[in-house]
């Protein structure tokens, strides 16, 4: 396959822009450069078929229908035996219609659908993110999240109190592996984390910036805590939204770096991402408390582990400085586990569990771990420029419905889509004239 190949996007040029509500139009041409996928999958992909003919419209689909089976086979390995699935038991069908035996109604029976009120004894604590000048920091705004007394968006019980916050990820290492659909939006700023942050806030509407200090990783550059402090200062200069600080995953190094940052940068109420069970909880907890920062308690998809970490942190950190993150897995790659663990945590909190009633955080960027988010597939699944961001969107919004309060995201269109979704969920008002889907006509049909 050629290293680089040009194809036409079968959608209007600025569609991604509009999806992302970009403030300026950057792409003028319909052509978008596609390069080889980053991971060598050794598959046939869609090579040979001109993706340009594909589009959303049905008749175009028909043209490639014949190749569908071959591609499905290539991608999905249809030849592999489907072993191991327990058949789901289906309840036997009841006798269907019975002849009316009594006097038939002649009028609609009047009825009232009750509005269930639920019975909750717990309440999620409220946590502040960031600090404005009057709060001792330098940020233009700060946010309060949490405070729920009912499951997520049960507006019929209680109107949502606080709006979830959407942060965008930036990295201090230009070589961070990003899929093409993401990278195309950040290419000019990959080398400058401050500019990267500014782009996210000014152009893509990020409400917070989530810095990933990858270079401190002993396996990458083993950058010093001092260098990390500079990076964070750089970002704080560039943007005026609150900032969260992500480590590299090495429990010792992360603690060292978080401590240096906390000591050098006071008053900003940074969000430390994250403290885990394999870190020194006492030192981590004292660091958060002494410098008045906020922390994400991160565990791996286990309600009990989440409880355990929170409990350990309580010895040092006030409850209203803790968020919890029980791990986000991508749509198709374990989203079901992520969804259920989060839903269980939140429902337990509302039932009064005193160790789980924290706002929840999601690393929604993990959606890109799913191959379907970025991989070349058959042309019937093109364009990747839409498939990727919708993957992140659906991953994020599914978890939003479990009660996530803080999102860490990557693709501008996904950020915007989630914002629109949150608007719709927070609004809580009915349309004057409900949509009657039955009578919709599309394109004159």
């Amino acid at each position: 396959m050629p290293k680089e190949k040009k194809i036409n996007l079968p959608i209007s040029a600025d569609i991604l822009e509009r999806l992302a509500k970009f403030q300026e139009i950057e792409l003028q041409d319909v052509d978008i450069e596609f390069e080889e996928i980053e991971l060598d999958l050794g598959t046939g992909g869609g090579g040979g078929i001109n993706s340009g003919v594909m589009s959303r419209m049905a008749y175009e689909f028909a043209q490639i229908r014949d190749s569908t089976n071959r591609l499905t086979y290539l991608l999905g390995g249809g030849a592999i035996p489907t072993t191991g699935y327990a058949q789901q038991a289906v309840q036997p069908q009841q006798v269907t219609q019975v002849a009316p035996s009594r006097v038939l109604p002649t009028e609609l029976i009047t009825a009232k659908t009750s509005i269930p009120q639920g019975d909750y004894s717990g309440e999620v604590v409220e946590v502040r993110l960031g600090a404005t000048k009057s709060e001792g920091g330098t940020r233009g705004k700060s946010y309060v999240i949490g405070g729920q007394t009912t499951p997520a968006y049960y507006n019929f019980q209680v109107k949502p109190k606080n709006r979830p916050v959407l942060a965008m990820d930036v990295f201090d290492w230009p070589k961070v592996p990003l899929s093409k659909a993401v990278k195309m939006h950040f290419r000019p700023v990959l080398n400058d984390v401050g500019e990267w942050a500014r782009l996210c806030v000014d152009k893509f509407g990020a409400e917070m910036i989530n810095i990933h200090l990858l270079t401190i990783d002993p396996l990458i550059e083993d950058a010093s805590p001092k260098a990390a402090v500079k990076t964070v200062e750089n970002v704080l200069q560039a943007v005026d939204v609150p900032v969260s600080i992500g480590g590299c995953g090495d429990p010792q190094k992360d603690l060292k770096v978080f401590t240096a940052i906390s000591e050098q940068i006071e008053g900003e109420n940074l969000l430390i991402n994250s403290v885990t069970l394999d870190m020194d909880i006492e030192k981590s907890g004292e660091m958060i408390r002494d410098h008045n920062n906020t922390v994400i308690a991160f565990t791996s998809m286990d309600v009990n582990k989440a409880r355990e970490l929170n409990r350990k942190l309580y010895d040092f950190v006030p409850k209203n400085q803790i968020l919890m993150d029980t791990t986000t897995a991508a749509l198709g790659y374990g989203l079901d586990y992520a969804f259920t663990v989060m839903e269980r945590c939140r429902l337990a909190a509302l039932k009064g569990d005193p160790e789980l009633n924290h706002p929840m955080s999601s690393g929604t960027t993990n959606a890109w771990a799913a191959r379907e988010a970025w991989m070349k597939m058959g042309p019937e699944f093109d364009p990747r420029e839409l498939r990727g961001p919708i993957w992140e969107t659906i991953t994020g919004q599914t978890l939003l419905l479990t009660g996530i309060d803080y999102f860490m995201m990557m693709h501008p269109a996904a950020v915007n889509a989630l914002k629109v979704m949150i608007d719709g969920l927070m609004k809580g008002e009915k349309p004057n004239q409900p949509t009657d889907w039955v009578s919709i006509t599309v394109g004159g049909n």
């Binding site: 327990a86 038991a89 309840q91 009825a111 969804f339």
Partner: protein, 470 residues
């Protein structure tokens, strides 16, 4: 009754109690446990079908029946079931019937569009961890108002697809024109409104079809219609509370949650039926580009999948928007009580010989299919040893001790890998590197640590792997 509140004892008391084993279980108690988990159906206990147990059968039936009625649409092997759910939250038990996706056509579409839409319905398939994910139904709407046109469209659709149909027309005359064509194939009829309910109820009875009660954004009227249909003698009902565009998403989440909550937690009369959702409401909004309509439609479909809809009417047919929808519903409707797993075995990939590589992986379906696809697509000849990790992915299995040096050594023995290859070298996933020493010790095989991601297997094999080190 919500499933988890049933105890096997309650069920056992109503079974024949002879432990005759006809159901395939060793005794009635074991069968009772299966029933409680909905892993068996009453009919599998043959003695129970005898006349003398009729009362017991009826009582068991009502104890075990789902809070949301299972409604069958279509006939024969093409029939599908919607509803049949027991719980509000999947972790309380499991969800059973994925929301059916019905692709939209109208009786005013051009032949070309009409036909290709049906082809998409028929042919769209994605193989996801061994399951073929497909689309389920055709939604035929009358937008012309003309009975003859509608009948023609229905006839054509019936010739082009065997998937079940939903006939959508609120004028009873039009509806009957469609039913005259496909009435005996048990289409879902949409629907009964506050104005036409009587005529539509008559049609539902005449053609013996399930019927949708429709009342956009008015739940009191929706319940009125459902109760009236019940009173009219109709058993198979579905509820369509209307779907609103993204801007009014809270109306959607509220509506569907209220209905499902009342059905499950309150067993409220008239509401224990499957819910129809119409993400295609997104197409009612004027957008500059249809891509935006389709994007919003997928987004609404995602929300309604997480929030209890049992059937989704979809207009957009692009792969990029359908794919996340079908994977989401598959994910949320997997049984949270057990991970999706495959049979542990030695899988022969291509045409291996005695010098071919032996690769280790776990029996989590997602892991297995990812690895097997990578190997297959690269046309590698070799053996894939699938160990029983109780359905855990590589790292979870290692961390949770579901895959250990002992279980790997045992699998090498059990599946007679020695007889297949001359060398004694096994390639393990990079993410299980820390087991390499122990596996070597336990099995006597030398261990090569492969790449972290299975996509790296082809280059690893050609560049690094050597089963016969000097």
């Amino acid at each position: 009754m919500p499933a988890k509140e049933l105890s096997p004892i309650e069920i056992y008391k109503l079974l024949p109690g002879t432990s005759c084993k006809e159901c395939g279980e060793t005794n009635c108690m074991a069968f009772a446990a299966k029933l409680v988990n909905r892993e068996a159906t009453l009919e599998e206990c043959k003695p129970l079908l005898e006349e003398k147990y009729a009362d017991n059968f009826a009582e068991l039936w009502s104890l075990l029946k789902p809070a949301v009625k299972a409604v069958e649409v279509g006939v024969g092997e093409n029939a599908i079931t919607i509803g049949g759910e027991y719980v509000l939250y999947r972790h309380d038990f499991t969800y059973f019937h994925q929301p059916a996706i019905a692709i939209d056509v109208t009786d005013e579409m051009s032949d070309e569009e009409f036909e290709t839409r049906i082809h998409v319905l028929n042919d769209f398939a994605y193989n996801y961890i061994g399951m073929d994910l497909t689309l389920d139904m055709l939604n035929i709407r009358c937008t012309s108002g003309d009975p003859q046109k509608f009948a023609e469209a229905v006839k054509k659709a019936d010739e082009l697809t065997r998937k079940p149909l939903m006939l959508v027309a609120h004028n009873p005359v039009v509806l009957e024109a469609g039913l005259e064509v496909v009435g005996e194939k048990r289409p879902l009829i949409h629907g009964a409104t506050k104005d036409n309910w009587k005529e539509v109820a008559e049609l539902a009875l005449k053609y013996s079809c399930p019927v949708v009660a429709y009342s956009p954004s008015d739940l009191d009227t929706l319940k009125s219609i459902a109760l009236t249909l019940e009173e009219y003698g109709i058993k198979d009902i579905a509820l369509d509370p209307g779907t609103q565009p993204t801007e009014y998403m809270s109306v959607n989440t509220d509506t569907y949650t209220i209905l499902r909550w009342n059905a499950i937690n309150e067993e409220e009369k008239g509401l224990g039926y499957p819910l129809i959702g119409a993400p295609m409401a997104a197409w009612a909004v004027e957008e500059e580009d249809p891509v935006l309509n389709e994007w919003n439609e997928a987004v609404i479909a995602g929300v309604l999948t997480a929030r209890f809809a049992d059937l989704l009417v979809i207009h957009g047919i692009s792969g990029w928007s359908l794919l996340p929808q079908i994977i989401l519903r598959s994910n949320l409707y997997t049984d949270p009580r057990k991970p999706v797993s495959v049979e542990p075995e030695l899988v022969i990939m291509g045409t291996p010989d005695e010098n071919s590589p032996v690769l280790l992986t776990t029996n989590f379906a997602l892991t297995y299919y990812t690895v097997a696809n990578d190997i297959e697509n690269a046309k590698i000849n070799g053996y894939l040893l699938v160990v029983d990790s109780e359905g855990m992915s590589v790292e979870s299995a290692v961390a949770g001790r579901k895959m250990t040096a002992e279980s790997v050594a045992e699998a090498i023995k059990d599946f007679k890998v020695e007889d297949m290859v001359k060398h004694r070298n096994i390639i393990i996933p990079g993410r299980s590197a820390r087991l390499s020493g122990e596996i070597q010790e336990e099995s006597g095989w030398s261990v090569s640590v492969g790449p972290l991601d299975s996509s790296g297997i082809p280059s690893y094999l050609s560049e690094k792997w050597n089963p016969y080190p000097e």
